[in-house]
């Protein structure tokens, strides 16, 4: 079962996130409608552009699953009510730091 994420107002900056179908890795939608494991590569979208980006993601079932919008600052930093959850998704579990994306060189430490 997929957990339900909070609804976000249209004017809040967002990133589309999902999981890679084949590997399960957390991924973020980039400006060219591709997917990156690094949240720093994500495109920040607002308003109707965000709706369009999510719709594109929902049609991308061959590559990803369960896409949803998460809240970020205008600069693409994780923020809002789900900051802890999304930081953990973007970087790794707080308890096994050896498994962090940074430890694998996927994101900067």
């Amino acid at each position: 079962m997929t957990s339900v994420r909070p609804k976000l107002k249209a004017d809040i900056p967002k990133v589309i996130t999902a999981w890679d179908v084949a590997t399960g890795a957390t991924v973020y939608q980039t400006a060219d409608r591709n997917w990156s494991e690094n949240i720093a590569d994500a495109e920040v979208v607002v308003g109707e552009a965000a709706d369009a980006a999510l719709e594109a993601a929902q049609g991308d079932e061959l590559r990803i699953l369960d896409p949803y919008v998460m809240e970020v600052t205008a600069d693409g930093e994780v923020t809002g009510r789900e900051t802890l959850r999304e930081t953990i998704r973007a970087t790794g579990p707080t308890t096994h730091t050896e498994f962090h994306k940074a430890a694998r060189g996927v994101v900067d430490a």
Binding site: M1, G24, L84, P93
Partner: protein, 553 residues
């Protein structure tokens, strides 16, 4: 231990092949995620925060060295070098890629293992007493019946799309280590007046957001009627269990909304109505065949006590403590039951590395007649160790980081993966467990506190069994901040009870000091060192403990 025959082996091989096909169809776009999801769920494949998670069944928590070694191999080759024992005696791998899972299932099939029905709205892995077949407390080994239930429930054509998941636990010991009263069905093996063994049937227990202690609907069901009776319970549930709201879909809600008496009547009516053509054909020869696999292993004839053991205890205090805390009496003279704690101070509860799994496999083969158990409290057990061998075993466990002497003590914490891994969690649980372990790290102090079961869940689904912890801790999210609600007085044993919420939630950083005050209060009020926390709590009531919890200045 049970061994597969050609039927079992073929079913598991065919399952792996079937899932390989399903994964291929998903990856090629032949089926949608919506269509694939129930299929992957029936194979134990969840989607968690960082990756897919694969849950592998360890039927009634029993396995042998070769199977443990396979887990070590899977951890190394397909995961990040470790696995996690679940609160239903299974193992979870947190980082497995979907494209690799068909290979993992093939590898598991080689050692007679699978991930069948480890998720989904079907009958899940049957759990049992981790001391089964080794403790003198039981009237007989319940595992043959666990295996019979495993086979009966595997791909059950009628009960694979139930209103919700369904969990069965079986014990044959008065002292219930399998938490049967908080299962959908708990089976307690009993002897009737005629001296025959059968089953007390307890239905409608469970945790989650509406915890219930199960009720006995039948004091005694004979062995040859067990499966037919279970079919009657399952059919009543399948037909009448709620499907309009997934939070009200477990059998506990049906039992409580219908009333235990009426529910029992419905089951009895269904059972009585069964025609011969509907009965499960379970020949006595088949019961005997399965039972024979669980015949006591070849124990040696040994004296009750061991001079080797006594000499080692006299020389080594740490060893003596470990024996006192982690080794329990065996039904066979000269043997002991060893709990291997997977709760070393400061590590995620229930995690074991590939190396530790390999070591445990070797030690099981050398010292425990090739048997290992996994407990719902997330530890391992070597059930058949000669007292003469305990010191050698201890030293090897110690060098692998597996000799923490804390079984049933305050740092032997049940803990779900929480928000560090789980897609459903609202708050982290592992860091809270680690903080508590560090606070109470001193073994002398733990020993003085005595038996105390802390159980931590990161959300109301209660995988960390917080409702039945002597002290339960539930993580909640309050406007993006983690808070922890404390409950007192829960227990999962034969006197099962749901804990009561003490009051407002605490911040994570305040939990250890608050529990230190609670423990101080316990030490002040206990009538003697032998009065456990849970007994003192029952005797004096919750108030002094609540006061202590919130006494910070």
């Amino acid at each position: 231990m049970y061994r597969y025959d050609e039927f079992d082996a073929q079913i598991v091989r065919e399952r792996a092949a079937q899932f390989r096909g399903q994964v291929e169809r998903r990856l090629s776009g032949d089926i949608t995620e919506d269509q694939f999801k129930p299929l992957r769920l029936m194979n134990g494949v969840y989607l968690q925060l960082h990756a897919y998670m694969l849950r592998i069944a360890i039927p009634y928590g029993t396995l042998r060295g070769e199977q443990m070694r396979k887990f070590a191999h899977i951890a190394r080759k397909y995961d990040k070098g470790y696995g996690h024992w679940t609160t239903r005696q299974n193992i979870q791998f947190n980082w497995v890629a979907l494209k690799d899972i068909p290979d993992v299932l093939d590898e598991l099939a080689e050692v007679e293992m699978h991930a069948i029905q480890t998720s989904g709205n079907c009958i899940r892995n049957t759990t049992s007493d981790q001391f089964a077949g080794a403790t003198a407390e039981e009237i007989e080994d319940p595992r043959p019946w666990c295996e019979i239930i495993r086979q009966w429930s595997t791909f059950h054509p009628e009960f694979s799309f139930l209103p919700r998941k369904f969990k069965i636990a079986v014990t044959a010991a008065e002292n219930d280590r399998a938490a049967i009263r908080v299962h959908d069905i708990g089976l307690h093996m009993r002897r009737n007046d005629a001296g025959e063994t059968g089953f007390e049937v307890i239905v409608g227990g469970g945790q989650g957001r509406t915890p219930h202690v199960g009720v006995t609907i039948k004091p005694f069901v004979a062995k040859d009627q067990l499966l037919d009776y279970l079919e009657a319970v399952m059919r009543v549930y399948n037909r009448f269990g709620r499907r309009d709201n997934k939070y009200k879909a477990r059998i506990k809600i049906l039992v409580s909304e219908t009333g235990a008496e009426e529910f029992t009547r419905l089951v009895d009516e269904e059972f009585e109505a069964q025609r011969d053509a509907e009965k499960i054909v379970l020949p006595q020869a088949e019961v005997d065949r399965i039972t024979q696999y669980f015949a006591p292993p070849a124990f040696e004839d040994l004296p009750d006590t061991s001079d080797v053991l006594e000499a080692a205890k006299a020389k080594d205090d740490a060893f003596a403590r470990w024996v006192r805390v982690n080794v329990r009496p065996h039904k066979q003279a000269g043997y002991g039951i060893v709990t291997i704690s997977c709760k070393p101070i400061g590590a995620p509860p229930g995690d074991v590395t590939d190396t530790q799994m390999d070591v445990t496999a070797d030690l099981a083969e050398r010292y425990s007649l090739d048997e290992i158990r996994i407990t719902h409290e997330q530890n391992m057990v070597l059930p058949h160790v000669k007292l003469d061998d305990l010191f050698d075993l201890y030293q090897e466990l110690d060098s692998a980081g597996l000799a923490t002497a804390n079984y049933e003590l305050i740092s032997d914490i049940i803990c779900c993966p929480g928000l560090d891994y789980c897609n459903l969690a609202n708050a982290r649980s592992i860091p809270v467990a680690q903080d508590l372990q560090n606070t109470f790290a001193d073994l002398e102090r733990q020993d003085d506190i005595g038996e105390l079961k802390i159980k931590i869940s990161g959300c109301i689904n209660a995988c960390g069994h917080h409702h039945v912890g002597h002290i339960g801790i539930l993580g909640v999210d309050r406007k993006g901040e983690e808070f922890y609600q404390i409950t007192f007085g829960g227990r999962a044993d034969e006197k099962a009870a749901i804990g009561q919420i003490a009051g407002p939630g605490l911040r994570a950083e305040d939990v250890p000091s608050a529990l230190e005050r609670v423990i101080e209060t316990y030490r002040e009020v206990r009538s003697s060192k032998d009065e456990r926390f849970i007994d003192a709590l029952e005797r004096v009531g919750h108030d002094p403990f609540k006061e202590a919890l919130y006494a910070a200045g």
